[in-house]
């Protein structure tokens, strides 16, 4: 069987019409949703940023800490560690930093790191990781 006869026998026309309609339905649906998506997100964000501003204001004052000057004897190791930290990213796990320090043959890495922690030159970021205290100059 060939020709129009075959198409009709196999319900070709219906399949084609319904088929293309579904494809269109799908993409129109998606298109319409996406078009709204960023508007909805914008609404949420406006709300969020408003709440955040309320929350942040009192905090901001707390955060302004005076710059810390490290004692001379650990400033040297601070510089070394800071150099290492450039390779580990802004926020780093301590063991990794220590590992780097050992590999580079830094002098007394464990206790040097300990002193930096005590001097708050390296501070926890609150997620188990650590970061450099930006108020410290070395």
């Amino acid at each position: 069987m060939t020709g129009l006869e075959a198409i009709e026998a196999h319900n070709g026309w219906s399949i084609a019409v319904v088929g293309i309609s579904i494809v269109f339905t799908g993409l129109v649906l998606l298109s319409a949703t996406i078009a709204q998506l960023h508007k909805i997100l914008a609404l949420f964000e406006k709300k969020d940023s408003f709440q955040e501003r309320l929350r942040q204001d009192p905090e901001r004052e707390k955060k302004e800490e005076p710059p810390i000057l490290l004692p001379a004897d650990i400033r040297e190791s601070a510089r070394h560690f800071r150099l290492l930290a450039t390779q580990t990213g802004d926020v780093f796990p301590l063991p990794k930093l220590l590992d780097y320090a050992v590999k580079r043959g830094l002098y007394r890495p464990h206790s040097a790191l300990n002193e930096l922690l005590r001097a708050k030159a390296i501070v926890p970021d609150g997620n188990g990781y650590y970061k450099w205290n930006k108020n410290v100059s070395c």
């Binding site: 069987m1 060939t2 020709g3 129009l4 075959a6 198409i7 196999h10 070709g12 026309w13 399949i15 084609a16 319904v18 088929g19 293309i20 579904i22 494809v23 269109f24 339905t25 799908g26 993409l27 129109v28 649906l29 998606l30 298109s31 319409a32 949703t33 996406i34 078009a35 998506l37 960023h38 997100l41 964000e45």
Partner: protein
């Protein structure tokens, strides 16, 4: 001594040189042409080179029994080919594509997605054509999907509906995808006026990170609730995209868009190529498939263009109708062709970025189309 001569003559009778006939020679030439187009012309080399070499591997005439040919069920090629016949490779490729694709231009301009829908007319009109030529409905659906211009989708659907046609349909789909820069431009010029081709698109708005993260989730739910049969392909596509956009799973996205997709591309290419074994490939049907495939691409291109012109009747900010041609997936070749043709008219008109929107939505569109055909045929 007698046995030695016997062994030798038997060996000679089993060499490929002895068993070679014009059919295998033809296919070996086809394989070489694929490799040539891939390497020298740089048409989709990541697909044509593996498929081309696969055609060579599938068309060394071998004796039966050892498990050498892809259609013997204890051959290595057969085991690797199961990734095709069971439908495993295409979703994994979609995973990788998802992890590579940036949907932002589409998100910035959702209206352009309709062009990706329109170009899928090629699928259904070719389906009708294939019915008319006497193919049975499942075969016709598999042939129609060539018009989706999306290799993995075509292979996935054919593996489900008409596994015997995987070879010709995959080869036709990839051939025409590689030939997009040859097929599309004349149709595009024929169906658009110079003035239309000169239309400039306005710059898309910026898309936020949150939108990009939400899109794969929303897109997945909307599309797969509508056409559940598109789930294996679209699920993986959107999943890969979520891995890419969410940043926190970056190492998984890296695996998906490198190790996974590249390995699967190698295996899919070589086995799909090898499935073109001369005795199953060189048939009257294959000729019909190739003819219909060309029609499918032409119709898809035309549908996209014409739909864009129709949309322009209703839009204030006109769309450059050339973008319609990018609806036929074939990422990113057809988008590049749009850029090219637009550029010929006005070298300062930069359409590539805009063409990516219908281009990637065309991928979604043909996956839905495949799902629909699959579910219709299996009743």
């Amino acid at each position: 001594m007698e046995h030695l001569l016997h062994l030798l003559s038997q060996f000679i009778a089993n060499t490929g040189y002895y068993m070679l006939d014009y059919r295998y020679l033809t296919m070996l030439c086809v394989g070489c042409i694929f490799i040539y187009l891939g390497i020298a012309k740089k048409y989709e080399p990541l697909l044509l080179v593996p498929i081309g070499f696969g055609i060579l591997m599938g068309n060394i005439p071998v004796f039966q029994g050892l498990g050498l040919a892809i259609y013997e069920d204890n051959s290595v090629l057969h085991y690797l080919y199961m990734g095709v016949t069971l439908g495993i490779y295409p979703p994994l490729i979609f995973l990788g594509i998802g992890a590579m694709t940036d949907f932002s231009t589409m998100l910035a301009r959702p209206l352009l997605m309709l062009l990706g829908a329109a170009a899928q007319m090629g699928i259904f009109l070719t389906f009708l054509g294939a019915l008319a030529l006497g193919f049975d409905p499942k075969e016709a659906a598999s042939i129609g999907i060539i018009g989706g211009a999306d290799g993995p989708t075509a292979i996935f659907l054919t593996a489900q509906l008409a596994p015997a046609l995987i070879g010709p349909i995959a080869v036709a789909a990839y051939s025409y995808m590689a030939l997009v820069p040859v097929i599309q431009p004349p149709i595009m010029k024929l169906l658009t006026t110079k003035k239309e081709r000169l239309i400039r698109m306005e710059e898309p708005r910026e898309v936020s990170k949150k939108e990009k993260i939400l899109f794969p989730i929303v897109g997945f739910l909307l599309c797969c609730l509508l056409a559940p049969a598109a789930l294996p392909l679209l699920g993986m596509l959107f999943f890969g995209n979520l891995l890419k956009e969410c940043v926190v799973a970056e190492r998984l996205a890296v695996a998906a868009r490198n190790a996974v997709i590249d390995t699967v591309t190698i295996l899919l290419g070589i086995t799909v190529g090898a499935s073109t074994q001369a005795d199953v490939f060189l048939t009257k049907e294959s000729v019909g498939i190739f003819a219909l495939g060309a029609v499918a691409f032409a119709v898809a291109t035309a549908s996209g263009l014409i739909f864009a012109k129709i949309m322009n009747l209703f839009l204030k900010n006109k769309i450059n109708p050339l973008l319609g041609a990018a609806g036929v997936s074939a990422v990113p070749d057809s988008a590049r062709v749009v850029q090219h043709v637009g550029h010929e008219e006005d070298p300062t008109n930069f359409l590539l970025m805009h063409a990516m929107a219908p281009n990637v939505s065309g991928v979604i569109g043909s996956a839905i189309g495949a799902g629909v055909l699959w579910s219709f045929m299996m009743r």
